[in-house]
Amino acid sequence: MKLELSRVVQGGCRLGVLKGLGRSGQHSLEVPGCLLYTRCGTVPHLTQDTLHTLTNLPSVTQLTLSTIAEHQEVLEDFKDGFRKFAGLHDTVLYCSLHDPVTPCPAGHITNKTVSVWGSGGRIELTVAKFMALQRTVRPDWYQSMADGETWQSNTSRKRVRKSVDRTLAHLDECLLVHHKTQELQGVAVFGVVEGGDILEERVRSAKETAKRPVAGFCLDGLQTGSMDQALRIQLIAAVTKELPEGKPRLLQGVGRPDEVLACVEAGVDLFESFFPFQVTERGCALCFNFDITPDPERAVLEADEERDTAGETHENGELNLDDQMTSFEINLKDKRYQDDFRPLVEGCGCYCCRNHQRAYLHHLLVTNELLAGVLLMLHNTAHYLAFFGALREALAQDTLDLLKKKVLKEKCGQTKSKE
């Protein structure tokens, strides 16, 4: 893979294209961008038919060992790799270790092993087993095995240091096996930068990982909930300073729009797209505005939207801790949507918004209907992908500040109704 950057802001965000992806090297992925999040190869709730109502899907599909490791024997019998097994045609497969949505129970990592949790329970992985899995899954790209269990508060310095050391050792061992494995020739490996919340360890991990012949870097242990935003940004900035400019940086476990914006400014290129799934699972629809095209007519329409939606979403930072709903979404179970016949988001081209209304989604959620998940997943994915498109456009046009203001609603806040 090759990262072609068209813009680099000093010590900060980059805009470009990751090329040469996949076995044939024919795929590419624009950065900043996100991967397509799947569980066992399926975008949650979606069959291929419903999935492909979405346009501009990322060319890279993310698989996780959390949802695949338990099928190792089946895949070994199948002999033809996960792509064929799951009926995934033209897409690049990226295999990560953990599912970003389900936190792992702590305390099961050893010097030589990490664990993932499948539907049948814990599966312990040595590097040998990890690499055997990669051999049978046959991804186009994978992250090396890593110890990232530093997200709990009060993780000791000693523990953090161990996570860095172990992760480097695992990387070296993975690379050794990788080069001896026929089925993995041409497959890209990402090193994983650890270091918890300790700056020195983060820098050490970055420096050391950068010495290895990897195609790019995963930044681990920084997921939403592990530390506050300011520290995360500080650490990411320090890490990316140590990483080569020409190799991509993938941040794991972070997906909220405000966090994405901040992390892009700190030098992150790629994200996992699990956030739309989380929003879907709580019966919510992403609706935050990221349209900054100058258009006076739009400005009037938006002022009306603002008035209408005032009070619908929470203020930034004012998280409803009961269901972790963010200010970027609306809760369609709310009674106010019972007779709201507008689409989820005016102007959204997704299947859900082209065909259905808030009132219908409200009904589906209230009656616990399966179709709610399908329609919300389609909309939330479309909205999220469009956000990344707007982000890239803003970087190209040098209007990132405007985008930030719009997404973070610094300017608008909550307008008062004229009534």
Binding site: R39, C40, G41, T42, V43, P44, H45, L46, T47, Q48, D49, T50, T53, T67, E70, H71, E73, V74, D77, F78, F85, A86, G87, G118, S119, G120, Q338, D339, F341, Y351, N355, H356, Q357, A359, Y360, H362, H363, L364, V366, T367, E369, L370, L371, G373, V374, L375
Partner: protein, 397 residues
């Protein structure tokens, strides 16, 4: 009389009749599109087919599906659905909709329901309020839903009940039919079907048939069956009913959906069928196939890399294997949707094949081939099916 000058919202064109059995192949012209019969109608209880978009349903060739008056009448309610341009507008379904009356749910789902001449009284499960579902109320809700075919409110009695209650219910259903006809605000757009009752009593059925066929309704349903009665009694009531129903009006056998039942009852003269079974069983991982069913969640399929049915052309079978679905069932709801799509495809394809064989004059041959495929040996043919088919001149080897 009514409908003197306007175009009827239902026209039945008989395309072919089987010279051996009582089967027919028809074109049922309804307001939203023409339905080819015999037809299986999937059930979308709450304004959605569970987990399937209307586009997916349309792609499978579905021309008519069901909605439930009881459920939709409770949530979101008829006023809201009217605001949304009827159930078609609410769920964005372009083809036809049939709504039942809510009568069956009254009896099967709701505790402490009380039937009087007025209607069915029950307590709302959502707010405990007492509600009366009368013929007028049922039709009013169905008028708001705007379905192409509405069912009369009938006095539903389980097919395992015997005694005077059955007769009482049959007569009341006739009276309620008249009240439903009178209450229909949209006779030029919405078709009201009568439902023949009478339990498993031939005499009562005949009285009901005699009476109801005197009413000017565009179609008839055969009700009160498919509720746990003996199959030997079931088929006899079906064939008795079709013997006394007018040829030029559609016959809808309610609650029937198992493949064998469908094929036999087509032979007995039925045109339309509905059942929750194919879609419900899909969500449990049971895939319908010409030789029975396949429980994809079972261990034996973990390494089975064939599709559910190698001959099936549905989106699921064209792309996925039993092994993948087996794995996916442990992780994501999409596994259910894949099997639901397949099962609907199976049902619709079966009916299409049945129809084609009637049109081409080879329905008896079709039946024999179907039965051979479905059962490992002729010893295993269900006795009732053998008898029922014999009654319409089909002998199975």
């Amino acid at each position: 009389s009514s409908g003197a000058s306007n175009i009827s919202p239902l026209t039945l064109r008989i395309v072919a009749e089987c010279p051996v059995t009582k089967a027919r192949a028809c074109d049922l012209v309804l307001p939203h599109c023409t339905v080819n019969t015999p037809v299986f109608m999937p059930v979308g209880t709450q304004g959605t087919l569970k987990g399937i978009t209307v586009d997916q349903l349309e792609s499978l060739g579905c021309q008519i599906c069901l909605g439930n008056t009881y459920h939709l009448g409770m949530r979101p309610g008829p006023e809201l659905i009217e605001k949304a341009n009827g159930l078609h507008g609410f769920m964005k379904w372009k083809n036809n909709l049939l709504t039942d009356s809510g009568g069956f749910q009254m009896v099967s789902l709701v505790e402490l329901s009380e039937v009087t001449e007025e209607g069915v009284k029950f307590k709302s499960p959502y707010d405990g309020k007492e509600i009366l579902l009368s013929p007028e109320k049922s039709i009013s809700i169905q008028n708001s839903l705007g379905s192409d075919i509405m069912m009369q409110l009938d006095d539903v009695v389980s097919s395992t009940v015997t005694g005077p209650r059955v007769e009482e219910a049959m007569h009341r259903s006739i009276r309620w039919l008249d009240r439903c006809i009178a209450a229909n605000k949209n006779p030029d757009k919405q078709n009201l079907f009568a439902i023949i009752q009478g339990g498993l009593n031939a005499e009562l059925r005949k009285i009901c048939l005699e009476e109801m066929t005197q009413r000017d309704v565009p179609g008839f349903a055969i009700g009160g069956l498919s509720g746990g009665e003996e199959k030997d009694d079931f088929w006899r009531m079906v064939t008795l009913s079709t013997d006394h129903l007018p040829r030029e009006k559609p016959r809808y056998l309610m609650g029937v959906g198992y493949a064998v039942d469908l094929v036999v009852c087509v032979a007995l003269g039925c045109d339309m069928f509905d059942c929750v079974f194919p879609t419900r069983t899909a969500r449990f991982g049971s895939a319908l196939v010409p030789w029975g069913s396949l429980q994809v969640k079972q261990k034996q399929y973990a390494k089975d890399f064939q599709p559910i049915d190698p001959d099936c052309q549905c989106p699921t079978c064209k792309r996925h294997s039993r092994a993948y679905l087996h794995a996916l069932f442990k992780t994501d709801t999409a596994a259910m949707h894949h099997v639901t799509v397949h099962n609907i495809a199976y049902q619709l394809t079966l009916m299409r094949s049945v129809r084609q064989s009637i049109v081409e004059g080879r329905f008896p041959e079709f039946i024999r081939t179907f039965m051979k495929r479905m059962f490992p040996s002729s010893e295993q043919y269900p006795g009732w099916a053998v008898d029922a088919l014999a009654s319409v001149n089909i002998t199975l080897d």
